[in-house]
């Protein structure tokens, strides 16, 4: 081992030590050090390969379609729902000019073969967690009249600027609680508390 190599070697050690120091400073609940963090929480979820690379950007941003046009159940049930295939086809039958694009071809292939698209879950909560879309949408969209992209974006990020969605918020317990602790203005239906519930059995099951 010549001098240069030894120097390099020590440099390497020093460097990795420094890097570890840097990691130790940030707080990574539930996440491996080195992954992207938002507000101290490990946030960027795994990239999910969908059967069709669905461009949220085109639909939600360019076409300005309300998120709840496709995710119908968000306003009235716990789950927001993956749109049924006939919802996609209902529109795309009327748009012949994009009919020859590969993704749309794939879409019609599923339709013609009577197979529903096997979408993969991007925001997958543990089985012991009960999250309710209804309450959040009712509170912030219908009562507080905030824009839908903002309301959905609290948890899902700026989906309107994504192609296939990817988890960009932590969606961990501490992250939920952080928001529930915030003071939200009292509204007609929610007269007693200004913040979200704090009881274990509101979210756990």
């Amino acid at each position: 081992m010549n001098i240069k190599k030894i120097e390099l070697f020590f440099f390497g050690i020093l460097f990795s030590m420094l890097a570890q120091l840097g990691h130790a400073e940030a707080f990574h609940p539930g996440g491996a050090p080195g992954t992207q963090t938002i507000d101290g929480y490990n946030a960027l979820g795994p990239k999910v390969e969908q059967p069709i690379e669905f461009p949220h950007y085109t639909h939600a941003n360019v076409m300005k379609i309300n998120c709840m046009y496709c995710h119908t159940y968000a306003r009235r049930s716990a789950v927001s729902g993956i749109p049924r295939l006939d919802k996609c086809i209902g529109c795309h039958k009327m748009i012949p000019e994009v009919r020859d694009r590969p993704r749309i071809k794939k879409l019609f292939w599923y339709w013609d073969n009577h197979i529903s698209i096997p979408w993969k879950k991007v925001h997958d909560l543990p089985d012991f967690v009960r999250f309710n879309h209804e309450r959040h949408i009712q509170r912030f969209y219908f009562q507080d009249k905030r824009p839908v992209r903002e309301v959905c974006g609290y948890c899902h990020g700026d989906v309107a600027n994504m192609t296939t969605a990817r988890r960009v918020k932590a969606i961990s317990m501490g992250w939920c609680i952080d928001c529930h602790k915030k003071d939200h203005q009292i509204s007609k239906v929610n007269l007693k508390t200004t913040n979200g519930p704090n009881d274990c059995w509101m979210c756990h099951k």
């Binding site: 009960r130 274990c200 059995w201």
Partner: protein
């Protein structure tokens, strides 16, 4: 609370009625009435509870070891003494009593949990947070009604072989080995109806939500509802029986049938039983 503190304040600790005033202005206080006169011991409630709450059927062998997982059991008693001579009505001597968590207001199980996994919710439920439970089973030892069940085996792996897992209720978690389980008045149903009610800007109406056991009972022996709403069936029945939640000693008419089990332990249970009336002449 240190031991010194506890001994010093023992009297006040014992006479404490923690939730005496909590429900004066509260929206919800879930409670139950079980009419033993109507109960035929058919076990429909138990079955419904199994189905609703993802309870595993453990099998004979484990049942014999006391590893059963029924959150609701039908207790069977035989008449004794002069009031109900067994030999007189041998086929009708048995008396049935559905026993589930009594949702005590001063729950003995709550104070002993080392990790606070069992706690009291604002609407008067004794809840169990399965993720937090470390399986000390101290709560079970302290429960006078013996309605807490310990998951001794990883039942989740064996109780629902494919495709039986499709019958599981997605609103209830499938508990793993090493946690204490119990009835929580089908809290998943309560939460759902409370959510919908909140969206509509009202309170849950009487009869809008009920527990699985009450729903399944063929004789409607079980009444479930919101005690904080004086118009509810449950509140009316409690009142008719002259039973008040915050009292441990009920002074009431001799002819009334209502009672709460082990009231003298000052657990302030939320379940009222109506005594069975027997006609020995028939």
């Amino acid at each position: 609370m240190s031991l010194n503190n506890l001994i010093k304040n023992w009297t006040s600790f014992r006479s404490r009625r923690p939730y005496l005033d909590q429900y004066k202005n509260a929206d919800y206080k879930w409670a139950m009435v079980i009419d033993l006169d109507a109960c035929t011991g058919c076990n429909a409630c138990t079955t419904a509870c199994y189905a609703e709450n993802n309870l595993p059927v453990v099998g004979k062998e484990r049942y014999e070891k006391g590893h059963a997982m029924h959150w609701l059991r039908i207790e069977r008693y035989w008449g004794e003494g002069e009031s109900v001579p067994v030999d007189m009505v041998p086929d009708r001597g048995a008396q049935f009593l559905p026993m589930m968590c009594q949702q005590c207001e001063a729950a003995p199980c709550e104070v002993v949990c080392p990790v606070g996994a069992t706690h009291h919710s604002a609407d008067g439920l004794n809840t169990q947070v399965y993720n937090r439970c470390v399986g000390s089973r101290y709560c079970s030892a302290n429960c006078p009604y013996k309605v807490r069940y310990f998951n001794w085996w990883q039942y989740a792996d064996t109780a629902w072989p494919n495709p039986l897992e499709l019958q599981l209720n997605p609103d209830v978690s499938v508990r793993s080995k090493g946690v204490m389980e119990k009835c929580t008045f089908c809290v998943q149903r309560l939460r759902e109806s409370m959510d919908h009610a909140k969206t509509d800007g009202r309170l849950v109406r009487d009869g809008e939500v009920t527990t699985a056991c009450a729903q399944a009972c063929p004789t409607s022996a079980i009444t479930f509802g919101n005690l904080a709403n004086p118009q509810s069936q449950v509140a009316k029945k409690w009142k008719n029986q002259q039973i008040a939640l915050e009292k441990d000693e009920q002074k009431k008419d001799e002819n009334l049938r209502g009672y709460r089990i082990f009231e003298e332990f000052r657990t302030y249970p939320s379940v009222v039983y109506l005594e069975r009336v027997r006609d020995l002449e028939a």
